[in-house]
Structures are given as structure tokens and as C-alpha cells.
Amino acid sequence: MASNDTDLTTRPSVTVHAPGSTASGVEPTGAPVMQLRDVSVYYGSYEAVRGTTMPIQQNQVTAMIGPSGCGKSTVLRALNRMNDPIPGARVSGDVLFHGQDLYARDVDPIQVRRRIGMVFQKPNPFPKSIYDNVAYGLRINGIKGRLDDHVEEALTKAALWDEVKDKVRKSALALSGGQQQRLCIARTIAVKPEVILMDEPCSALDPIATAKIEDLMFELTSDYTIVIVTHNMQQAARVSHYTAFFTAEVDDKQVRHGRLVEFSQTGKLFTNPTDKRTEDYITGRFG
């Protein structure tokens, strides 16, 4: 894979503090697991997000923040081809996963989503038992071995096992919102992805459930890479190692496009952002 620095610094409108630079003391573990190179996402002729270049570091949490309409969720969904089913949706540029272009012709989007899983804003368990929710992905992926062990492992990793071990055959819909979200995380990690995408995973949860998910995210980084979209800047500051700030810009034809403004280590971005637009947004002086 090409080196980060050369890729990243070719776009002067984006402030990028490459891993290993100053600030928060977070050290990346090595090469990025994913790399976006000049990625634009279109819905039909509308360019929703323009020219995004940033790395996703392995075993780290990368947060995407920005106002509504800035394209952060669109970029997140582009990371595992979740926009594919939307008619007219199209991606240009490179979305590289271990150096391989995820949008190459021979790439199977199902395989992409198995290795790059997603957790959504609203907990969306299947109307089945807790056990079947977790076992579902394992069964359709034909994962061999003792299903019970896999289910227990996934629920344990999702910090839910102790709360549900006596009722795994009960309906998942009987769980609280926070438990349902952790169940969705368990369902995602059961198929052993490398990257977990989270689209505002706590916005429907109370502060206690939110804290549990945040703790869990931290623990999960020992095995997984996490990318989270959040409207809650304090959450981004709490949980992430890297933060990407997106904004919506209006072009000369009065069309809005999402744009990456700044990508930095989180400590740096929240104490000393380089771009004035970042500063204005995170201090609440936006617009």
C-alpha cells in the first residue's frame, strides 16, 4: 500500500495530521487497515461527498463528526458498500481495504460486509431469540464448530453475556435498548469482521447504556478496528483515537457537497484544531 503521507498531503484543502505526528500520545499500531483516496460519493448526478482522503488505522477508533448533511454517514456507508442498493449511488476514488479496492469488479459486496460489519443508530435485532440473533450470521456464513461456543464468545465480547446467559432463548425484543444495541454488536462481531462501522450507535440510548457501549468500544479495539459516526462531539472526544471533521460546502451553483475538512489525532483536533472551520464547529460557533 502506498504511504499515507504522500497520499494525504496531495489535497491542500484538507488538514491532515498523519499518524505519528504530535499531540495526544496515541500511537498507531502500523499500516492503516483501510485507506480512502479521493473518494467521492454520488447519488445520481448529485455529488454528496467530494474528494475524501483519509486512513482508518488498525485497532483504533476513528470518529467522523460534522453537521447534518456533511456526508459523514455517506462516507461510513461507502466503507462497506452499504450504499450499493441505493439506485444511482456510485463511488469514485479508491476505498482500499488492506490495499485492495473494495469497489473492484471481482469483489463480492457480501464478503465486504462480512469483514466490515455495521451497527446502526437504532438497535435492530431480528424478532427472534437472543441466541438466534447472534447465530444468524454464523449459520448463513456456514461457520463450523460449536455454535453455542461462538454465540457465548460473541455475547461475552459484547459485554452482554452476564446479563442474558440465563435467557438466551428469550426474545431479543424483550431486552432494553442498550442491551439490544450490544446484541447487535454481538451479532456483528460473531462473524469475526475486522472493521466495525457504527452509525450513531448511542443516539437512541440513555447515558448509562451509552457509557456501556463506549466502554465496550474501547475493549473491542484489541480485536477490531472501529469507525464511528456521531453527532455527540464529547463522545467522539471520549472514545476515538482519530477524528475526521466533515462539513457541507455550497459550490458556485448553490449545490451542497460534503467535504472532509480536517483529520487529526483526537486530542489535537479538540485542543488545537488547524482549520478555522473545525474550530468554529466544535466550539459551537458554526453557522
Binding site: 479538540f270 485542543t271 488545537n272 474550530e279 466544535i282 466550539t283
Partner: protein, 214 residues
């Protein structure tokens, strides 16, 4: 608590620091008058004024946790709040050092503390310390990074004057040990005062640049 009150709180914090800086500057100016003109009432004014500085520091310190908990400041707002805590401490300490000078004056009154041969060097120290204090006040208002970094040069002047004073005191000082001790202490107070002013300026550099310089 809305956005207006957040900006108001930050403005109020900045205002408290500006007032403190002006007061700390006035304190060393008045203390220097007391010292060089053997002016008892000037010395007493310094002592009275210090209570105000102490109160303002307490005010700043009370505001800071409130701003943190209510608004979770980030970026330059966060740096302002962190710096304000240190700046308020430094300014209050500057006031204390001016009080120390004034107290030496009061202790010896009506006898003067500065014999004739030491007048030029102490005039130089007082002048440089006052100038630093005034510049600190300006830098706090303008947040000019280069001006802030310049303060170190004025501090060098104070340090050099203090060395001249000490070498006078240790070579055939004809005014007795008591006088030598008074002057050594007064010299030390000015030197510490100027150092604290440089600390304030350093905080301003951090506030502006986000970079901590050693």
C-alpha cells in the same frame, strides 16, 4: 445555559484576568514608588490593593469549573480556560511579590531601604519590572504571540540588574548586614515578579498557538 451565556462567561473570565493584570502592574509601580521615594502611604496602598487581587483570583477560580462542567469547552475555548487558571495564579502571585516589597519599606520606615549607591540599579529593576507588567497587560488583551515572546528579553534585563545588585552587596557593602539582606530580598522579589509575568506571557503563547514551549 445557552450560547450567549457561554460567551459571556468566557468574556467575563478574560475581563477578570485583564483587571488582575492591571492591578498587578499598578501594585509593582506603587511598591517601587514606596521603595525609592520612602513613601509610607504608597506602601500601605499596595497592601490594601492586594485584597482585590486575591478576590479576583478566587472569582476566576470559581468560574472555571463552572464553565468546564456546563459547556465542555474545546479548542481555543479550552485553552483559554486552562490558561486562565494558571494566569490568575501567576497574577495573584505578582501582587504578593509587590506586597513583599512594600512590607520591607514599612518595616524600615521612616528609614529608607535603598542607600544612595543602590538607587540606580533598583531604579532599573523597578523600571524593567513595571514595563514587563504593562506589556503583560497589553499581551493579554492583544494576544500577540510575538509580543508575548519578547517579554523574555525584558526579563533578562531584570535578571542582569539583580546580578549587579548582588555583586554590590557582597563587595564592601558599608550599610550593614541588615541593609544587605533587605536589598537582596527586594531584588529577589523583583526578579520573581518578572518571572511570573513571563509565565503569563508564556500562557498567552500557548493560548494562541496551542503549543507548549519550554
Amino acid at each position: 445555559m445557552g450560547r450567549d451565556s457561554y460567551d459571556e462567561q468566557l468574556d467575563r473570565l478574560t475581563g477578570v484576568l485583564a483587571t488582575m493584570s492591571r492591578d498587578a502592574s499598578a501594585a509593582i509601580r506603587t511598591a517601587s514608588t514606596a521603595l525609592l521615594d520612602v513613601d509610607r502611604s504608597a506602601a500601605e496602598r499596595v497592601l490594601a490593593g492586594d485584597a482585590v487581587l486575591d478576590r479576583l483570583r478566587a472569582e476566576a477560580e470559581a468560574m472555571i469549573p463552572e464553565v468546564l462542567v456546563r459547556h465542555q469547552p474545546v479548542a481555543s475555548d479550552l485553552r483559554l480556560v486552562v490558561c486562565a487558571l494558571r494566569i490568575a495564579g501567576a497574577l495573584e502571585r505578582m501582587g504578593d511579590l509587590a506586597v513583599h516589597v512594600a512590607k520591607v519599606v514599612l518595616m524600615r520606615h521612616p528609614v529608607g531601604v535603598v542607600p544612595e549607591p543602590a538607587v540606580p540599579v533598583l531604579t532599573a529593576m523597578a523600571g524593567a519590572a513595571t514595563r514587563i507588567a504593562d506589556k503583560t497587560t497589553v499581551v493579554l488583551a492583544t494576544r500577540d504571540r510575538l509580543d508575548a515572546m519578547q517579554l523574555g528579553l525584558d526579563d533578562d534585563e531584570v535578571d542582569a540588574a539583580q546580578e549587579r545588585l548582588l555583586s554590590m552587596l557582597v563587595t564592601d557593602w558599608p550599610y550593614g548586614v541588615e541593609s544587605a539582606i533587605d536589598l537582596a530580598l527586594v531584588g529577589r522579589y523583583y526578579e520573581r515578579y518578572a518571572d511570573q509575568a513571563v509565565n503569563v506571557a508564556r500562557q498567552v503563547v500557548y493560548l494562541v498557538t496551542g503549543t507548549i514551549r519550554l
